[in-house]
């Protein structure tokens, strides 16, 4: 599903040039749950952004579902991203001015679903994330765990093939963190591919495979479980 060849990313400011990714080859199978680990500044998030079609690489190739997408224009990237990729962030990234329902509805609007269909899809995912009783609340009125559940609901509402999670438990206590990890696992079981960036060894235990990144390059890969093996 995801295949990168010699992926590089260089950030330039007026004075300095930083190489964030250096010949990264990453391969993720359909249905896999991959955790990317490594110290701060090793390029985890940069890799995730490129994989998530938010950013283009400076060099190398990126195949998404067999299609070369590393050099697409922003407009086409957005087009491809829509409905195919869902994002979950450490800081939730909900829109403060919109309530729970509206936040979750957002991707469906941009996918041009009809209002009736949207209602159905949002209700069902809120139900599933056990947050439907708070559908009229605004993000500030929710606990961190609840906010992350809303964010996950938004990531999955359009039934994407791939979910990218950037430290999804980073801002949560252990109880809420566990809940989020269970949710992700459940989604993975249902067939959604998941790539997760994390600092937490505990969280990485949920993945099939852990990729360790250091200074922009893949250091080691360890297989935790075989694909298809029942996770915890």
């Amino acid at each position: 599903m995801i295949k990168t060849e010699k992926l590089t990313k260089i950030f330039r400011t007026e004075e300095i040039e930083t190489s964030a990714l250096n010949n990264v080859n990453l391969h993720v199978e359909k249905g896999e749950f991959v955790a990317i680990m490594g110290p701060s500044g090793c390029g985890k998030s940069t890799l995730l952004n490129i994989v998530g079609l938010l950013d283009n690489p400076s060099g190398g190739n990126y195949y998404f579902d067999g299609q070369e997408v590393g050099h697409l224009k922003e407009k086409n990237r957005t087009q491809l991203r829509k409905g195919n990729i869902g994002f979950v962030f450490q800081s939730f990234n909900l829109i403060d001015e919109l309530n729970v329902y509206e936040n979750v509805e957002l991707p469906l609007i941009y996918l041009k679903y009809k209002a009736k269909e949207r209602k159905q899809m949002v209700e069902s995912v809120l139900e599933r994330m056990k947050i439907s009783h708070r559908r009229k609340h605004f993000p500030q009125q929710l606990s961190g765990g609840q906010q992350q559940r809303v964010a996950i609901a938004r990531a999955v509402v359009a039934n994407p093939k791939l979910i990218l999670a950037d430290e999804p438990t980073g801002n949560l206590d252990s109880k809420n963190g566990l809940e989020v990890m269970n949710l992700l696992t459940e989604l993975n079981k249902e067939g959604t591919t998941i790539v997760m960036v994390t600092h937490s060894l505990h969280d990485s235990e949920f993945a099939h495979r852990v990729v360790n990144l250091f200074d922009g390059a893949v250091l080691t890969e360890e297989v935790k479980k075989q694909l298809g093996e029942v996770l915890v």
Binding site: N49, G52, L54, D55, E74, K75, T78, Q79, R81, K82, G83, F87, F89, S91, N93, L94, I95, D96, E97, L106, P107, Y110, L111, R154
Partner: protein, 779 residues
């Protein structure tokens, strides 16, 4: 230390400071120019010592044109009148001296006639000669210093001879040039005694309505009382019997205080200004000030989250809220003063350009240097007032929240900002629709069917040599294939200046008289309602008349075609009645008039031409004229252009108002631009999230536009009725006016919306095309 910190922070918030400065300069520059202009117009005629006691006499029927004999009658009968004057404006004439004439040197100079008390009533300065004596005797004249220098150089002028249109006058006085702020001015004054020495019959004197009467009343006398008394003077009762019967209880005479004279646009002899225009300009100046302040407040409050955090650090270190506020107000004051300096510098560079562009005067400081202090005081007040709200707002969050710089301001003051932007668009839409409406009215005048065929008509002023060979000259011109037809007349359409007052069968009537040749009626395709046109190529109709329908109706004549009408030293038959057509400005109603068939007044030659290379054609006409009169130079003009000049004043003021409107619009755009910059900044995270969730750039741009569209729609609803009422008022003044159209308002709304959306899109596009990764990194 304080000052250093001040400039540091102004420089630190660059975008905000530049936008603020830009909008303040636009606002101040407009205010400077408008206030100088309005105060200049308001200063007219204020230098006359007696100004509060001076009145100009006018009648309900014929405005300021009166028979000069009235002065005598009034002097004799009304003791309330301290002094009175007769004036007559002659316009431009050729003046010279016997010495200069020898070298064929002539000057064009304005001249007017004035009676002996001129320098006692008015405060114009006489440099040489005695006030009471200079205009006392026949054939004497007072000239201005400038004309004196032109005519006599450094030599003394008193006692010298000058000629005005070949008539000789002795110079008895030299006066200072008329101040720019005098409603009327001239280059030389000739004595009224020159006119009275002709010993005209009383009947003749009553029949020439072309003089102005000025009254200086005794202290505490009410001008209106005096005006009412005039018609009761026994000598006048008989003369005005007819008018009295027509106007009933209305007073025939009215007086205009000299203080208001400058604002009476019906007076065509003097410099006037439309008081409505002045009011509009004052309002525009206030609008500019308000809009400048709105932008200022908007820009500084949108900086609140950043400023608040920075200021709170100083507060943690021991300073208090008051000094934070003081700093923000001081910044506002500094920016305001800097903006004033820049505005004054720009003003100084551009004012003369603006004067010539809109054909206005009074933008120069010219001795009004105290205005600089007024402007500085204004900038100080402006800076402080517009600094207070942002200062309170920015320093409002409790320290604990401010230091974190979190979303204390989220949503706060947003409503106010939106209301302020809406206010700006109210102004913009109202001004824009006014400009469009003024344009429409000007266009209406241009396109109006006058009832005479004015297309492809050119004219030239003749000279006595041409008049002497009028037919030969015309026949020569007709040989040119581009010239189709010709006619001679005393006046071109739009400039009929002769008024006749006549007694006929015991009825006194007043009307415009237009001396024309045998070809005129045909030339202009004027429709004859009743009777016939003048016979062409025949002298049989000489001294006969054609009246317009309006005259016949007004005078209530039942069988005009059987009547004879008195001319000068003759009576002539009325041979026809012309359908009413517009022979003067469309600002006025059609007046009673007559065509007088004569061969004695061929001052103007009108030619109907075929479309051609006009420059070449005009040159051929001029060359031909020069053959007949080598000593003169000739000017050929289109009649259309000359008719349009009747509306030149409206056109100039319209252009000026349009310009100021655009200026205000610029301010509104700066305001919107600033808001969008800040809104985009505040919504960076939201935009990022939306893009991650699949929003395309266009969808983000639309999102930001959407908010503004709502406010502009509200502005439209408020602005339309305001503009409607104002324009209705303006149109009231004109006899012939275009209709108010809904599309004017719709178009203004659409234009405002488009301009706002272009501005918003330009800015929000940048926000929308940013990489969402960057946006989300903010967190």
């Amino acid at each position: 230390m304080f000052i250093k910190r001040l400039f540091k922070s102004i420089l630190k918030y660059k975008t905000s400071s530049i936008l603020t400065l830009l909008s303040l300069v636009i606002s101040f520059l407009g205010i400077i120019i408008l206030s100088l202009y309005v105060s200049y117009e308001k200063s007219f005629d204020q230098f006359h010592e007696n100004k509060d006691n001076i009145y100009v006499l006018k009648t309900r029927m014929y405005d300021y044109n009166l028979p000069e004999v009235l002065k005598e009658v009034i002097d004799k009968n009304l003791p309330e009148v301290e002094k009175s004057l007769v004036l007559k404006f002659y316009g431009e004439n050729r003046v010279t001296t016997p010495q200069l004439k020898a070298t064929k040197t002539f000057f064009d100079a304005q001249s007017m006639m004035a009676s002996a008390d001129f320098f006692n009533v008015f405060s114009f300065k006489l440099l040489q000669g005695e006030k009471d004596k200079v205009l006392k005797n026949p054939n004497t004249a007072v000239i201005t210093q400038t004309l004196a220098t032109k005519l006599y150089g450094d030599k003394p002028a008193i006692g010298e001879i000058m000629t005005i249109n070949a008539k000789e006058f002795t110079i008895t006085g030299i006066m200072e040039d008329f101040p720019q702020t005098s409603s009327f001015s001239t280059d030389c004054l000739t004595s009224y005694a020159t006119y009275t020495q002709k010993n005209l019959s009383l009947e003749d004197r009553y029949s020439e309505w072309s003089f102005q009467i000025v009254l200086q009343l005794k202290d505490n006398v009410d001008g209106n009382d005096v005006a009412r008394k005039i018609e009761t003077i026994p000598d006048l009762v008989e003369t005005f019997k007819y008018f009295k019967s027509k106007y009933g209880d209305e007073d025939i005479f009215v007086v205009k205080s000299y203080n208001d004279l400058h604002y009476d646009i019906s007076n065509t002899y003097i410099k006037t200004v439309n008081p409505i225009i002045l009011k509009v300009l004052v309002i525009l100046a206030i609008v500019l000030a308000v809009m400048g302040m709105v932008n200022f407040i908007n820009f500084s409050t949108s900086q609140a989250p950043l400023r608040s955090k920075a200021l709170s650090v100083t507060r943690v270190l021991g300073s208090n809220r008051f000094s934070s506020m003081l700093q923000i107000i001081a910044e506002a004051l500094t920016i305001s003063l800097i903006a004033l300096m820049i505005s004054l510098a720009i003003y100084y560079e551009v004012y003369s350009g603006i004067e010539s562009l809109f054909n206005i005067e009074g933008l120069a400081l010219n001795g009004r240097y105290y205005f600089i202090f007024i402007f500085i005081a204004f900038a100080i007040v402006f800076g402080i007032v517009s600094g207070i709200y942002p200062a309170r707002y920015i320093s409002s969050p409790p320290l604990s929240q401010a230091i974190k710089g979190t979303g204390y301001f989220k949503g706060k003051g947003k409503l106010l900002r939106n209301v302020l932007v809406t206010l700006q668009f109210v102004f913009t839409i109202a001004l824009l629709s006014s400009s469009l409406m003024i344009e429409k009215q000007l266009n209406f005048w241009n396109k109006f069917d006058l009832g005479l065929d004015k297309e492809n008509v050119v004219f030239l002023h003749t000279t006595s040599k041409i008049e002497n060979h009028a037919e030969a000259f015309a026949q020569e011109l007709l040989k040119d294939t581009a010239i189709v037809d010709y006619t001679y007349t005393q006046f071109i359409p739009g400039q009929v200046a002769m008024g006749w007052g006549r007694e006929i069968n015991g009825q006194y009537v007043q009307l415009k008289a237009w001396p024309v040749d045998d070809r005129f009626i045909d030339f202009f395709n004027i429709e004859i309602d009743e009777g016939r046109a003048f016979q062409k190529e025949s002298e049989a109709d000489i001294n006969s008349f054609i009246f317009n329908r309006k005259a016949i109706n007004d005078f209530g004549w039942t069988n005009p075609l059987e009547m004879n009408y008195p001319g000068f030293d003759f009576e002539g038959p009325i041979v026809g009645i012309a359908k009413d057509f517009h022979f003067s400005s469309l600002k006025e109603d059609i007046q009673p008039m007559l065509f007088w068939r004569t061969d004695t007044r061929k001052n103007e030659l009108l030619l109907r031409v075929k479309p051609a290379n006009y420059t070449q054609l005009f040159n051929r006409i001029k060359a031909k004229a020069k053959e007949f009169d080598p000593e003169n130079n000739f000017e050929v003009q289109f009649l259309d252009d000359s008719l349009n000049e009747l509306y030149a004043k409206e056109k100039n003021t319209a252009r000026f108002i349009e310009f100021v409107s655009l200026w205000c619009m610029l301010l509104a755009i700066t305001g919107v631009l600033g808001l969008v910059v800040f809104i985009s900044r505040d919504r960076v995270k939201e935009i990022g999230i939306r893009k991650v969730n699949g929003a395309q750039t266009a969808e983000v741009v639309f999102l930001i536009n959407k908010d503004f569209i709502k406010w502009i729609a509200i502005a439209f609803i408020i602005a339309t009725p305001i503009a409607w009422i104002a324009l209705n008022n303006w149109l009231q003044d004109f006899a012939y006016k275009t209709e108010m159209s809904w599309w004017i308002f719709a178009l203004s709304g659409v234009i405002s919306l488009l301009i706002a959306m272009i501005t918003i899109t330009w800015q929000s596009w940048r926000a929308a095309t940013r990489n969402p990764v960057e946006a989300l990194r903010y967190e």
